[in-house]
Symmetry: C2
Amino acid sequence: MEKNQQILLAARPQAQVELSHFKWVEKDIEPPGESEFLVRAHYLSLDPYMRGRIDEAKSYAAKVELGAVMVGTVVGEVIVSHHEKFPVGSFVETHTGWQLYGKSNGAGVRLLPPKPVPLSAYLGAVGMPGVTAWIGLNEHGRAEPGQTVVISAASGAVGSVAGQLAKLKGCRVVGIAGGQAKCDYVVNELGFDACIDYKKNEALTLSERLAVACPKGVDVYFDNVGGPILNAVLEVMNPFSRIALCGLIAGYEDPQRLAVTNFRSFLVNRIQLRGFICSDHRPLWKPALEALAQGVASGAIRYRETVAQGLQAAPGAFIGMLRGENFGKQLVKLI
Amino acid sequence: MEKNQQILLAARPQAQVELSHFKWVEKDIEPPGESEFLVRAHYLSLDPYMRGRIDEAKSYAAKVELGAVMVGTVVGEVIVSHHEKFPVGSFVETHTGWQLYGKSNGAGVRLLPPKPVPLSAYLGAVGMPGVTAWIGLNEHGRAEPGQTVVISAASGAVGSVAGQLAKLKGCRVVGIAGGQAKCDYVVNELGFDACIDYKKNEALTLSERLAVACPKGVDVYFDNVGGPILNAVLEVMNPFSRIALCGLIAGYEDPQRLAVTNFRSFLVNRIQLRGFICSDHRPLWKPALEALAQGVASGAIRYRETVAQGLQAAPGAFIGMLRGENFGKQLVKLI
C-alpha cells in the first residue's frame, strides 16, 4: 500500500532558508475518523507567507513547530470519506500542508466546482492569491477608473491578478518586477501599461523611472515587497493616495531592509496605508472568487505557473520562490 | 499713527531654526479696499506646521517665500471694515501671519462668538489644534470605549485635547511627553490614565514601558511626532489598530530620525495608518468646533498656554516650541 510522504520543519533559519531546514519522511497514511475524510493532494501551493511561519518571531499566525509538517494549502481529491458534504471523488482546497495525504473534518475546506477553471488555478488566480489581489485593490486600494496603480512583484501570483483587475477597472497600471522576461510578460501578456525592472541598472533611480511611467503620480500602490521599492514609490505617491500592504518579501531574510526612510510622505501626501491579509475578510471571499472564476474562465484574467515536480522538490522550489526565481504562481505537483 | 510690525522669513534653515532666519520690520498699515476689512491681531498662534513651510522641500502647502511675512493664524478685532459680514468690533480668526495688522476679504475667516470661551482658546482647544485632535481621534483613530489610546506630545495643543476627548469616550488613555512636569500635568490635570516621560532614562525601553502602561496593547496611536517614539509604539500595537498621523516634529531638523524600523508591524498587525491635516476635512469642522466649545465651556476640556509677549518674541518662542520648551499651546500676545 502506498505510504504518505511529508516534509517537516527540521530547523529554523537564522537568515536565508536552506534545504537543511527541511526533512522528508515517509509514514503510514492515517485513516480518517468519524465525520472526517482523506484527501490525496494533487498540487501544493508555495507562498511567501510560509517564510514568516518558520521564524521564531511573532506574526499574524502561529509558527510551525520544529518536527511538524510544513503548513500549506493543497488542492486534491477526496478518496475516503465519512463526511456527507465531501463525498469520494469530490475535489477540495484544504490546508493539510506539505504532504501527499491529509485528513480533514471539513473546517476551512473549500469544495471546488469541476469547472470552469483548471484545478491548479484554485491555488492561484481563483484562490488565496487572487482573493488577496481583489481585496487589496477594491477594499483597501479603492482604485478608481483613470487612476494610476503601481504593483510590486507584478508577475507574481498576487500582483499579476491585482494588475489585471485594475486594468479591467480602467486604471493605468504600472508593474515592478525583477528581470526583463518578467517585465515583458507583465506588459505583453497581462496587459499592464508599463513594467519597471528593478534589477536593471539605469542612469535614473527607481523613483525617477516610476515618475516617468506614472506622469500623473501614483494613486494606489499594491505592495507585496516593502523595503527599498516602497521607499521609491513613496516619492511619487499622490495626495490622498492609498497603499495596500500585503507582503514584505524584501525583509524576510533581513528585516533591516524594511526600514521606511521616506516616512514623511505619509503626512505630506496624507497617505492611507493598510496592512492586510485576506483571511481577515471572509465575507469578501464569495464575491471575489466569483469575479475571479469568471475572469479566468473568460480569459480576461491570465496567469502563469511554475510547477515543481514531486514533494521532495518543495523545499528547493520554496527557496527559489523567496529569491524571485519563480515566474507566476509557484506550485508543486504531487501526483 | 501706529505702524504695522511684521516678521519676515529672511533665510531658510539648513537644519536647526535660528533667530537669524527671521527679520522684524516696521511699515505703514495698508488700508483695506472695497469689501475688505482690517484686523488688529490680539494673539498669534505658533504651530509645528510652520516648520514645514519654511523649508525648500515640497509639502502639503506652499512654502513661505524669502522676504514674505511668516504664515500664521491670529485672533483679533476688526477695526476698519468695508465688509458687511465682518463689522467693526467683531472678533475673528484669520490667517494674516506674523504681523500686528492685516487685511482680509473674508475668505477663510472665522467670525468668533464672544462667548463662551476666552479669545485665545480659538487658536487652541476650540481652533485648529482642537479640530485636528477631534478629526484624528474620531475620523481616523475611531477609538471605541474600553480601547487603549496612546498620544505623543500629550501635553501639547493637539495631544492634550485628543487625550481628553478619548477619556470622554471611555478609553484608557496613555500619554507620552518630555519631562516630569508635563507628565504630571497630563495625568493630574488632564486626567490621562498614565503618561510616560520619554526623556527619562530608565532600565526599561520605551516600548517596554508602554507595554506596562497598556496591558491590553494599543488600539489607537495618535502620533504628533514620528521617529523613535513611533517605532516604540509599533511594538505594542494590537491587531487591527489604527494610527492617526498628524505631525512629524521628531524629523523637522533631521529627517533621518523619521526612519520607521518596525515597519513589519504594519503587516503583522494589519495596522491602518492615515496621515492627515485638518484642513482636508472642512465638513467636520462645524461639529468638531461645537463639541470643543461645549467641552471647554463646561470645563470637561482643559488646556494650558505658553504666551510670549510681543511680536518680536515670536521667533524665539517658535524655536523653543520646536525644542519642546513650551507647555501647552504656544501663543504670542500682540496687544
